[in-house]
């Protein structure tokens, strides 16, 4: 897949007069834009099909805010990432709808408080999580991202608790989607989250190779 992005960047770069390392930067931008847009579009389509698109969008927004500062576990290839992200967002959306129907209204705020406390604890102890593909070379940058992750989790928690209180939990499923989004983004920062995603990644690679030998287990 990387070759496709490099070829596209090469085409664009030649038209705009770019060479060498600048082409790699353009290819990286193309890869990032494509993977995120594809993942979000699939999750949104799935959400519309399942009738929980607003919950999926809410969880995706919370993921964006937390993961940009705190980092977390990753899949090794684009297609596995798109599959895992889509399934995770749809599960969070469906889970929020189910919980909102099952939980008593009085229990919504304690649930939000519990999810917020978990995420804040994870941020205080683990953020930012480093990825081998994007090491933090400067200590100051690590410190900056750590502060940003804690601040983001704290502000989100306050907003959700305040929002739940002021609206008297009228938007329970959205509130729970945001909290579940926060919790899943938090889990992705923990060692358990890394192990879980590595296991899923391995299983998808194995299944892909079985279904389509030589091609299904896409090269990293």
């Amino acid at each position: 897949m990387k070759k496709v992005f490099l070829s596209a960047a090469d085409f664009l770069g030649n038209k705009a007069g770019l060479t060498g390392e600048d082409l790699e930067v353009v290819a990286y931008g193309l890869e990032v834009a494509f993977s995120n847009l594809l993942g979000l579009s699939l999750a949104l389509c799935g959400g519309i099909f399942l009738g929980n698109s607003t919950e999926v969008l809410t969880a995706a927004l919370v993921w964006l805010l937390i993961r940009r500062s705190a980092g977390g576990a990753h899949c090794k290839t684009l297609w596995r990432c798109v599959l895992v992200s889509t399934v995770s967002l749809l599960t969070v959306g469906k889970g929020a709808l189910w919980l909102a129907a099952a939980l008593d209204r009085q229990l919504l705020l304690p649930a939000v408080a519990l999810g917020s406390a978990f995420t804040l604890t994870v941020m205080l102890n683990r953020a930012p999580a480093e990825s081998p593909r994007r090491p933090f070379l400067a200590a100051a940058r690590r410190q900056y991202l750590r502060r940003r992750a804690i601040l983001t989790a704290a502000i989100l928690s306050l907003l959700l608790l305040g929002g739940g209180f002021l609206t008297a939990n009228a938007y329970g499923s959205l509130l729970l989607a945001a909290v579940l989004g926060m919790v899943t983004a938090g889990i992705a920062v923990t060692p358990a989250g890394y192990r879980l995603l590595a296991t899923v990644d391995f299983f998808l690679d194995f299944s892909g190779n079985k279904i389509w030998p030589g091609k299904g287990g896409e090269k990293e």
Partner: protein, 43 residues
């Protein structure tokens, strides 16, 4: 026409470079995929 195509391609390249820079400023990509960061953008 040629001038316009240069503008369009330059704009596209600028947008993609902007996306790269914004993405590399955070701790990780939004979803579960993290492409290899180019050497030029490593800090």
């Amino acid at each position: 026409m040629k001038k316009m195509s240069i503008w369009i391609f330059s704009g596209l390249v600028s947008l993609l470079t902007f996306i790269s820079l914004v993405n590399v400023a955070g701790a990780c990509s939004w979803l579960f995929y993290e492409p290899e960061v180019p050497a030029k953008l490593r800090q």
